[in-house]
């Protein structure tokens, strides 16, 4: 199973990023092989639709679940259409979240915020 977490740095000392669409990096964790991959988030600089672009990336990466502090409605629409589950993080530590996810302790996110409207 592939899990994605938006993070602040591309190393394993990193903390979880409060934003999803504009997080600097994504951590892609493969539970089967127990491998970590840090990828730069190209949506971070988007003028608008950052959540959408980030969600497209998550879908393209083949992720099964996203662990995040919050998520916008637009990104949620993309992820829901693709069947990617969205969970609320339990803390800002990556390890704790992966552990809590494996133990089924994380809750699904049900409240999504409106788009930030980057357009003119």
């Amino acid at each position: 199973m592939k899990i994605v977490i938006p993070v602040n740095e591309n190393s394993n000392e990193t903390t979880v990023c409060a934003s999803f669409g504009r997080a600097p990096y994504f951590l892609i964790y493969d539970t089967k092989n127990q491998t970590e991959e840090y990828v730069k988030n190209l949506a971070a600089d988007a003028q608008g639709g950052a959540g959408i672009k980030a969600a497209q990336f998550i879908v393209d990466s083949g992720a099964d679940a996203l662990l995040t502090v919050r998520c916008g409605q637009n990104a949620a629409d993309v992820l829901n259409a693709a069947g990617v589950k969205i969970y609320k993080t339990s803390s800002d530590k990556v390890d704790e979240n992966l552990k809590d996810f494996a133990e089924g302790k994380l809750e699904a996110i049900t409240q999504f915020h409106a788009g930030f409207h980057g357009r003119q």
Partner: protein, 289 residues
């Protein structure tokens, strides 16, 4: 960090005057001006040191190579934003109208169009014991939403204060929507007039769509006590806390013209604002618990 945003719907109701007074009453250490089209808060915040500045890049804009262009006009026809005109037989892009969609680049048969980086404004950060984040969008530019988000993020990154005040912009569009996300309470400063009440209703509905809690106060209430009462009733009918009213006070513009907030001026408006500030804080504390 708890965040209070000040909005109005209608322009000129006194957002910045209220924000500046609250900042001084509470010695707030973190504040931002989210009105990136027409920022004003820096005029009354008395910082002595020069601020840090950073270019803000907006959407890329189209640029047409005048040597390669043959003046066929295909780009002018394709542009939905009237941003391209043929001038002296060559196509030229109006930087104010161009939205950076790159359709012109796609349709150009002569490879004459380049999409280039565009500095759409600048971010400004003031610091002493306080941190003040603001920005100025270049004229005619869009993408104000992203710049507002950057202004907020810069504030949150640069300060570990517990409480922040955000001075918002008029209207209900893009920069307003971007300023609302993630705040704990929106205080609407309403003008007691037919226009003011009409606009207040629109901004309250917008805030409701965005799912954020609101409160209302009236500024210059004695211009129309009847409309002030109507606003009070509207709030009651819609379960929106009405946190107070401020009389028209000539001391307000005097203070602003002298470059400081009302907090240091002994006048009726200040006393009224103190009450509103206390009521607003109470609301924010209630929402937390």
């Amino acid at each position: 960090m708890r965040k209070l945003l000040i909005l109005s719907g209608k322009g000129g109701t006194g957002k910045t005057t209220v924000a500046a007074a609250f900042i001084d009453f509470l010695s707030v250490g973190a504040f931002a001006d989210c009105d990136v089209d027409a920022p004003n808060l820096h005029i009354v915040t008395e910082f002595t040191d020069k601020p840090e500045q950073k270019d803000y890049y907006g959407s890329q804009k189209a640029q047409i190579n005048q040597e390669k262009c043959v003046g066929c006009g295909i780009c002018e026809d394709a542009c939905r934003f009237n941003a391209i005109k043929l001038i002296n037989g060559k196509a030229q892009v109006d930087e104010y109208a161009c939205e950076g969609c790159s359709v012109c680049q796609f349709v150009c048969p002569h490879d004459s169009v380049m999409m280039v980086d565009d500095v759409a404004g600048k971010q400004i950060l003031y610091r002493d014991e306080r941190v003040f984040s603001t920005a100025k969008l270049k004229m005619g530019r869009g993408n104000s939403g992203k710049l507002v988000t950057e202004v907020k993020n810069t504030l949150f990154k640069s300060s570990d204060a517990e409480f922040a005040i955000l001075d918002g912009s008029p209207g209900i569009g893009c920069p307003v929507i971007a300023s609302v996300t993630g705040v704990d309470l929106v205080l609407i400063v309403a003008e007691p007039s037919v226009s003011g009440m009409h606009d207040m209703e629109r901004i309250l509905k917008t805030a409701d769509i965005l799912g954020v809690k609101t409160a209302v106060c009236v500024n210059k209430y004695d211009v129309s006590p009847q409309t002030t009462e109507k606003i009070n009733q509207y709030c009651l009918d819609n379960n929106i806390p009405f946190v107070g009213k401020v009389p028209y006070d000539i001391q307000a513009s005097k203070a602003i013209n002298a470059g400081h907030s009302l907090a240091s001026v002994d006048c009726p408006a200040r006393e009224a604002l103190k009450t509103i500030c206390t009521n607003t804080l109470k609301l924010m504390e209630e929402k937390q618990s």
